[in-house]
Symmetry: C2
Subunit: 359 residues, 2 copies
């Protein structure tokens, strides 16, 4: 087992400046690959359901308002380590050159947040209270993992539906802490910093101001959050969600902000379910890198509280991404975002909870 | 029809600095989306088969060694405009700001290269002569489209298999000329230029030298070409193919180079078919941007003949890309490239033609 663990590593591509996790222990044989759309057999017991707690690795944290033992039932939200982690918490962080390439040891964290005891309901179908617990627990994990000096970034994301990459149907989020900054985040930071250096304004605040003024791409807006179809959407019904006020990291969100986030996410995911025929989706929380530890290049991060603005990208999987898009970073989107937004605005988000929805 | 045409446009994302084609006429209604894996009904006549030439737009170019009329049978390779083009050749190239966003008119070319009259065979199953015709015709289209001053870049790619985005089963390549440079290419150019400025050596030549020396990631090598699993492969069995000598653009390839390209591509795609159970794949030819027209920023392109090196990325679709990878540019690959290369080296590429294969 230990020599398998030691094989997980991060590698850097010198052409695209992109990090890849080579996680050799997840699936090594050519016939062992996940085929598109493959999910666990329905007949197997669900490791995320109450009563099956012993099927998962021990819990990292769980909410038990009514009390109860760890790793037993009675929880409302439960976080466990991923059974097949891409990165492992144990081990020393090493960085070395391999000829002209770069390698970092596969140190990190890979956790699963089980959204509720309910096997069949996710964010838009759960109560506003339950969703607020989901997001406040994500925030807690973020703050906790950022205390670890080895971790540069914490990825928070959700895959919904087998064809969107969810291998277990019980609704869950994933948390991955990495010792490197993902390329897309690095790109965003650069754009935001250049904008701030030139204008002393946040790039994202400027975009939100322009979208609010125009309004044609807005899908939902509350007192605290805005959701719109981005001007240069890569795929149909892609959505961008952000606080309307400047906030660089989800770590800064107040309990009222968290409740506002739960409210707009319920609204948006309800519209996707009702309007797009329950299409699978992914969302990724784009957060500032770890600013809690001593940064290695202080000047680089000096303005991050001013120039970065956390947000969420929701991508419904309505179209297959063809290979040339993967190879070029160049996308063809058949649905103008103005039409996507108009369509989703007209959808009743429904859901099982009767909380107020945004304008 | 004309007001639909006018709606196609390129939009620039100010956060990711990424271009997107908003091609509103390809599929506008929420219920009109391509679902993953959807392909044309098998019962419908194939528009790419001989005798059905009237089902495609008029041909751009076709090889008819035995003579014959345009848009009739008797061709060996045929290039036609895409019936549902993402960009259109007619119209003026305009660039304008939309508030803080950027827009370029949807001018470009979108062509389909039909590989042979044979409905059921692609590169690895066709003769070396036929494959050489495919690649020399792609080269011709590249040279011809680069004569158009409006086009900054010409994308050459192939989707093989419905789940890799091929909507028609008759084997074909696609050609898209765009008035902008794709983000991934721009990234590569930047990396290559920085490397060259520091070392006066080509980044890609250096990588090829290191891979040749190590050898553990090489899948196939001929006198002219090398194919290896990249050190930081994003997905299992990803392959990188390049000329072993420095050449910045496919436009520079000699007839012998083209024949060598056909030879190694037949070998590699044969190994993927035989070793990976006919898994769908995509490949993209990464070529230098258009250097034939007067560049707008001459200093930027001054060294491109020295620092860029054309190559091909082949991506078998063995795993589903989950959403977080799309959202972060950060990949988890369960198969170390050294193991992928070892496995593919052991595969007999087979194929219907008896040409020599690489070492």
């Amino acid at each position: 087992m230990s020599n398998i663990i030691s094989r997980s590593e991060l590698r850097h591509d010198p052409i695209q400046k992109r990090w890849v996790i080579i996680a050799a222990d997840r699936s090594r044989r050519p016939d062992g690959f996940a085929r598109p759309g493959r999910a666990e057999e329905d007949s197997a017991p669900c490791p995320f359901c109450p009563g099956n707690e012993e099927m998962t690795p021990p819990e990292v944290v769980a909410l038990r308002e009514g009390g109860g033992e760890p790793n037993g039932p009675g929880w409302s939200v439960r976080v466990v380590s991923n059974k097949y982690p891409a990165l492992r918490i144990e081990g020393e962080l090493t960085r070395r050159g391999v000829g002209m390439y770069d390698q970092v040891s596969g140190v990190g964290a890979h956790e699963v947040l089980i959204e509720s005891p309910d096997h069949g309901r996710t964010v838009d179908e759960l109560s506003l209270e339950q969703c607020s617990l989901i997001y406040s627990t994500l925030q807690e994990r973020l703050i906790d993992l950022m205390r670890d000096e080895r971790f540069k970034y914490v990825l928070l994301f959700k895959n919904h539906g087998a064809s969107a990459g969810a291998t277990l149907p019980h609704p869950h989020h994933q948390v991955i802490a990495t010792p490197v900054t993902p390329k897309t985040v690095a790109s965003e930071l650069n754009s935001a910093r250049l904008h701030y250096l030139g204008k002393e304004r946040c790039l994202f605040c400027d975009i939100i101001a322009q979208e609010t003024e125009g309004g044609e791409r807005i899908v939902s807006m509350t007192d605290r959050f805005i959701a719109f179809a981005p001007y240069a959407s890569r795929s149909p019904f892609e959505l961008f969600v952000a606080p309307r006020f400047h906030q660089h990291s989800l770590t800064e969100a107040s309990p009222d902000d968290i409740r506002g986030l739960a409210e707009i996410m319920k609204d948006l995911l309800g519209r996707i379910r009702a309007g797009l025929d329950g299409t699978p989706y992914n969302y990724v929380i784009h957060n500032a890198p770890n600013t809690e530890t001593k940064p290695r290049r202080p000047s680089y991060w000096a303005t991050i509280r001013h120039d970065y603005h956390w947000h969420i990208e929701i991508v419904p999987r309505t179209t297959q991404t063809a290979g040339f898009e993967w190879g070029t970073g160049f996308y063809i989107n058949p649905t103008p975002p103005e039409e996507a937004a108009e369509y989703l605005r007209g959808i009743d988000p429904g859901g099982s909870d009767s909380d107020e929805e945004g304008a």
